[in-house]
Symmetry: C2
Subunit: 234 residues, 2 copies
């Protein structure tokens, strides 16, 4: 039983349900038997209530994480205390794995946005495993590459698109279909979506109402799109 530096509600071994999510996470998917077992053994599960601080910027980085359920907000503060989200991590997403080499200090804050279950990996252990098992190294490379591309997308979006365009883009990505009408249920609160798109909650609200003329109707977390194609023109 290790003591985590940041206390959580519970800290327990992997149960079968969490394991199922973990094994399907992009980071673990594609690991062979041996490597998979090693990683699973290195994992420990913890769950935390909403708004729990997982770690703070500047803290010594000892673990990286994989979200099993719920959502985690990665963000940074400016000197006046204003927060800016960098990334929102949902089930299957890994975060702070980028500290596996290099500085041993967290470079941002991580806070749960709702009740959340996390898998936690010791960074040193994972580093050793990555050096022993080529498959684990490969998984790490693949996972980091994907994050990097996503984050570059984020920079480009912030710099190229207006608020309604970013919202439209999110909706289109979340849309299962490629034409006609569609309906989406947001998996989290609107304030979280706002942060994800680099907007104040008010700006998201205004973006939604400006998308009404493009056939977007919002009622709570349910979003109706009358015509996916016309949304693409925004």
């Amino acid at each position: 039983m290790e003591k985590p530096t940041v206390t959580m509600n519970k800290s327990l071994r992997v149960n079968s349900r969490d394991k199922a999510v973990l094994v399907r996470a992009p980071f673990m998917a594609g690991l062979s038997g041996e490597a998979l077992v090693k990683m699973l053994n290195a994992a420990s599960i913890s769950s935390a209530p909403a708004r729990h601080i997982v770690f703070r910027e500047g803290m010594t980085a000892e673990h990286f994480y994989c979200v099993l359920s719920g959502y985690v907000r990665l963000y940074r503060l400016n000197r006046e205390g204003r927060e800016a989200d960098i990334r929102i991590c949902g089930p299957g997403d890994t975060f702070a794995e980028c500290l596996i080499y290099g500085d041993d200090i967290y470079r941002f804050n991580a806070q749960t946005a709702e009740n959340t279950t996390l898998a936690r990996f010791d960074i040193r252990t994972a580093r050793h495993l990555a050096e022993q098992e080529p498959d684990i190294a490969r998984a790490l490379i693949s996972c980091l590459s994907h994050h990097l591309l996503t984050t570059m997308d984020c920079v480009a979006n912030d710099r190229l698109h207006t608020a309604p365009q970013r919202v439209a883009e999110y909706l289109l990505k979340a849309c299962p279909v490629d034409g006609g009408p569609a309906s989406i249920r947001l998996p989290f609160q609107k304030s979280l979506l706002a942060g994800m798109l680099g907007l104040a909650p008010e700006a998201l609200s205004r973006a939604f109402s400006s998308l009404r003329r493009a056939g977007v109707t919002v009622r709570g977390r349910i979003i109706q799109i009358s015509d996916v194609k016309s949304l693409r023109d925004v």
Copy 2:
């Protein structure tokens, strides 16, 4: 002699001078003899004039690159043709290495900002090498991690800081000293710095002139800072 998909001025084997830069690049530094030789053999050098398109978004990704001299702009276009820079790569920087696993399509445009020498690696070859040589995998992980952190910094900066703050931050990072007066010579054009910070050239100009009251004097590419400490308060 392979034919590159994008024609460059010259395409030649590694010469001793380029090799020296390449070996010192973060990506190659820390490679052992065997791994180093393999990577060097996989590299081919090409140089291109200013404003040369290295590759375009959507093209089949066959190579990734390491800048040996000069600068490369990674950017994306919106539908109206406006450009937004995602990253500026200088000597020692690697780009498009994030495509080593995953889709085989470039996700952004790359253009030289001045006369530039590049090392080019075949992506498939590099993938095989990374699977054979744990050191190469380790170097890739380390390199990708660093990029990811940098890009996350970029998102946070864009969202948290104003133009003068971003400029001040750049100057402080480029500053060798931590107090008193300092002088910096920009390694590239101001328009490139503007793009790097997510600003229009005019906005950079205004930011500089608003930093005059913080003791910043600009003459061409030379920037004088009367007191580094007071710049930190911006």
